[in-house]
Symmetry: C2
Subunit: 601 residues, 2 copies
């Protein structure tokens, strides 16, 4: 057995020509109490550090990744996040100094189970201590100290990398400007843990496991391959597996394999499993999946908020619709906790058929890349519109968010001169941008259309991807000076719930809506006997209108009274004449902009 001074013996898998190793004899006490007397960290960097050191981004890798996140030149192998990192890319190595290191417990050059124990007698093997995501972050912190980086502009990661980004925000609040947390959750579900448990049991029950001391003989390849096959299923989605394997269900790929190869999906998994054992160590697999399973910011809003209480940075969360390992709802719990704490948190739920692996795939990251790019740019003070891809036309009422913004001016008239604002249904962030320019802060946009969310984030607006109908519960009482609901009332099913939320979360609500009792509408029903239509938000046919509610000014006033909501101020407009209406607005006005607040105050 030959080893270098660090205890590192051999690298499993492809060589890492651009990686450097940093070694330290400073003992590391782990969260679980064990001590590692010395440490090696293998890392790669891209780009150059600014003189003020303000442009450093730490990229954290997922379970099976390593320091090679991207290629360094044209001759280099592509990295695992080639799609995101490089000159001119979302994590722009022309502007940022990017660092990626192999995690503690990994098997690609950082201290892990394949390293010699301090006594030099044998490898750690299965005796490598339990490490946590917190331990991984501490090792990265030491590496940054060594590199002379005081502060990160951002820490970015997906899956296990996302958990590290979260942990950075909590453990090193003064050293992180922003965290980009992709496909992650406060904790793995019991179902997710269960799959990991079966995988680890398969490794440990492999006849070659030898209690983890297999390095000099045959290794537990079958067990590790089984664990990988199983995990691989959880990285895909039911939908993507259908597309990939159903057409050729009984036509296995022509591969040499010791595993079952009856079904096409079986031959694919066999291939994935057998390739994986060539580049990964079984003990590392046990170590890293255990760290993922132990990561736990708590159950329920209170616990998660408490866990995140120390964080100070800006956040961006990306989740993917078909990810069932770290699902959208779990990512949303993190967003809600940060919203509850009034932190600057943006989020986007990205439509993708590709499941958990979406963050690694070019085709699933089209919007995600742009959002990450815009978010990171805004962290160094660069904002501006980004190109959002065309989306197919939809029947969803979302589209009406983009029309009839004539009421902005009226809303501004009812706004206080300063103060914080939440815009419910903020669209592309246009109104909030105007308010920012007028000095309002902090600002939060809530929007349910993904492309609009992307555009809003690109304007530098903190924007949460959520439905106004259900997404306001996380916002604390009186959190904002003003809550805006601009031309959205008529598309909301739970009108009562949303109005109650508006006066709960803000000192003043400003609600604009089209008046269904406007004179021409009344006359149309009276004279023609048809569901009334007129230009603007009621310009739809009875059978396909996206409107769900048909409020008149009087209806709205009466409902406010019923709900104990006071109307403080109002502007009623006849838009055709571009005139304000004071005489019987329920008859003469087609647009109402109303300022409301809780009556009991």
């Amino acid at each position: 057995m030959s080893a270098d001074g660090s205890g590192h013996v051999r690298l499993i898998g492809a060589p890492l020509p651009h990686a450097r190793a940093w070694r330290s004899d400073d003992p590391l006490r782990l969260e679980g109490g064990d001590v590692l007397p010395r440490l090696q960290v293998t890392y790669e960097t891209w780009g150059a550090l600014d003189e003020d050191g303000g442009n450093a981004i730490l990229v954290c890798h997922a379970l099976s990744g390593d320091s090679h996140a991207a290629s360094h030149d044209a001759d280099d192998d592509p990295g695992w996040w080639e799609l995101l990192i490089g000159p001119g890319k979302a994590i722009d190595t022309d502007r940022f100094f990017v660092i990626c290191s192999n995690v503690l417990g990994g098997c690609r050059g950082t201290t892990g189970p394949d390293f010699l124990r301090p006594d030099g007698e044998r490898r750690y093997g299965a005796e490598f201590p339990t490490v946590t995501v917190r331990d991984m972050v501490e090792v990265q912190r030491r590496l940054l100290d060594h590199l002379g980086i005081d502060r990160l502009a951002a820490v970015v990661g997906g899956s296990l990398g996302g958990l590290q980004a979260l942990q950075w925000s909590i453990d090193q609040p003064d050293r992180v400007g922003a965290a980009v947390v992709i496909a992650a959750a406060p904790r793995l579900s019991s179902q997710g843990i269960a799959f990991d448990v079966v995988g680890r049991n398969a490794i440990r029950h492999d006849a070659h496991f030898a209690e983890g001391q297999y390095y000099d003989g045959p290794s537990p390849e079958a067990g590790l391959a089984l664990a990988r096959m199983l995990a691989h299923i959880t990285y895909l989605s039911d939908e993507s597996m259908r597309a990939k394997f159903d057409p050729t269900r009984l036509q296995p790929r022509a591969i040499e394999t010791g595993f079952e190869s009856v079904f096409s999906v079986g031959s694919y998994l066999a291939y994935q499993g057998e390739r994986f054992v060539e580049r990964f160590d079984a003990n590392s697999y046990v170590t890293l999946t255990t760290a993922m399973d132990l990561f736990d910011l708590g159950e329920g809003p209170e616990a998660i908020r408490e866990s995140l209480a120390k964080s100070r940075c800006a956040f961006l969360f990306l989740s993917f619709t078909t990810d069932w390992l770290y699902p959208v709802e779990a990512s949303q719990e993190l967003v809600d906790a940060l919203v509850a704490e009034g932190r600057p948190v943006s989020s986007c739920i990205v439509e993708s058929p590709a499941g958990h692996d979406s963050f690694l795939l070019e085709e699933s990251m089209v919007l995600g890349k742009q959002i990450v790019a815009a978010f990171l740019s805004s962290q160094i003070g660069e904002t501006g519109p980004i190109r959002v891809p065309e989306e197919p036309e939809t029947d969803e009422p979302t589209s009406i968010f983009y029309t009839n913004r004539l009421d902005y001016g009226l809303i501004l008239r009812l706004m206080p001169e300063t103060g914080s604002v939440v815009d419910l249904g903020c669209g592309n962030g246009e109104l909030l941008s105007i308010l920012r320019d007028r000095g309002h802060a902090p600002l939060l946009g809530i929007e349910r259309d993904a492309s609009a969310v992307a555009e809003s984030i690109s304007r530098g607006i903190v924007t949460v991807h959520a439905d106004v109908d259900s997404g306001l519960a996380a916002i604390p009482d009186d959190a904002y000076d003003v809550a805006l609901l601009s031309q959205t009332l008529q598309s909301i099913l739970d009108v009562v719930g949303v109005l109650r939320e508006i006066v709960r979360i803000a000192k003043r609500g400003i609600v604009s809506f089209p008046n269904f009792a406007h004179r021409p509408l009344r006359e149309m029903l009276q004279r023609e006997g048809r569901l009334p239509k007129e230009e603007g938000l009621y310009a739809y046919e009875w059978y396909d209108t996206p409107n769900r509610r048909f409020p008149s000014i009087l209806d709205f006033q009466e409902l406010c009274t019923t709900l104990g909501i006071e109307i403080e101020d109002a502007i009623y407009i006849d838009s055709a004449r571009e005139a304000e209406v004071t005489d019987d607005p329920n008859y003469h006005a087609d647009l109402a902009v109303v300022a409301i607040r809780r009556a009991e105050r």
Copy 2:
């Protein structure tokens, strides 16, 4: 090694005191071409066969079941479907003669891998030929021949048992009156197959597998336990695992186990795995899961219809909302295929948190039991209302299905005297019951409320659980003489789609709806400036009405013209005066009942 004449060596697991074994030396040629020269089938029966033999029900078991479906007396062990089978239960052994046999390839007394090969030298082991669900059914058919049962009133099963019930309907169309197919699908998803593949690979890579000839030594217990642990995850749901394990995530149960026991879910799976190996044979596990994976009625509507083309029986499908192994959508594909063929098919999608295992659980089968009982009763000519459990009040527009049935009489006036009818939004089947009594046939109800579906089935009405907005595509052109849409138009989002479907699937559509241009409604908007209300279907507030559309008679007429739909006949009613309106019905009538058809005919 000692064996009886059948080649059967020992029974794995608990004894079966009430089981009988039938042996045959009639060779069985399997679907895959192999021949089993002799056969043993272990089975149990409950109840007594009628003189005319018309009351036999075959119950088919799932992967890990056996012939012991229910206890035979108070001293007997409970069976795996104790909740459904017994005196006075859904499968009522006071009325039905119930048979359940261990499947071909099983390990509980029917010929399988644990049997001696014909040469008597050794067990079949892994050399036991591939069997299919069709082979299982053929063995059951032979057993019924032996028992002198010409025809089954019904064949009933869940999961693998449901696949057998489907196969019975196809292979023995003249011998099956009805099939109850629970938690099943035309084929397992690629994701589902993938989990089975990993499980089988775990068994085959166990050091004790010995190419399947492990019977005289240690058996591949770890591999089988791993397979079971993994499969068990797929039988539960994410939701049920959260409830069961999240509160005690890091508190494993105090069990002795050779498997990882760090997380509570891990200790639970370890226990499940280790108990399973005491009662199941690894080779059987491979055999039966392979049969499930190979079961394939095809992909897409055409293929599935073709597979089911030979079936002649009545069908009942139950599926469960959180079942992700044989999900609701897959069960629905079978329903759609049979609807497309005009077969009498009923279905219910049962709300249950318990995943695939729901069909085995008392608490998930409350409604399911009643539906099965009602369906089986109707098969022997007994129908009547069943007790449907109270459901919590819901804001869903469903509730309006149960009010305002005053239009029944008017609908009957526009009905032809005979002919077939599909009722879209049939509620509890009341109107269809009236039509049945008037001699209309065949009848189909479509309803989206589960309790109403149960009640409708209990009336003996063929009822599919589906949404009118999306569930009509399977019905062929001109399949019915009449399609009814009674007071449902105002709750439908896709009005155009549904109207087009009505005139596509039926020669005549009869649509009743409340008139939004009724005089008092017009006047209310005109005079009061509020969203109009009046008694009946428009008796809701603007902010919480379940109505999604507000059609007037004129609006409806104009839309029909636009869509190329001809209005053949109509009745307009002023319900307050209980009088028919002929003068300006759009002004004077509050209810319209309109007969429509495609104009081009």
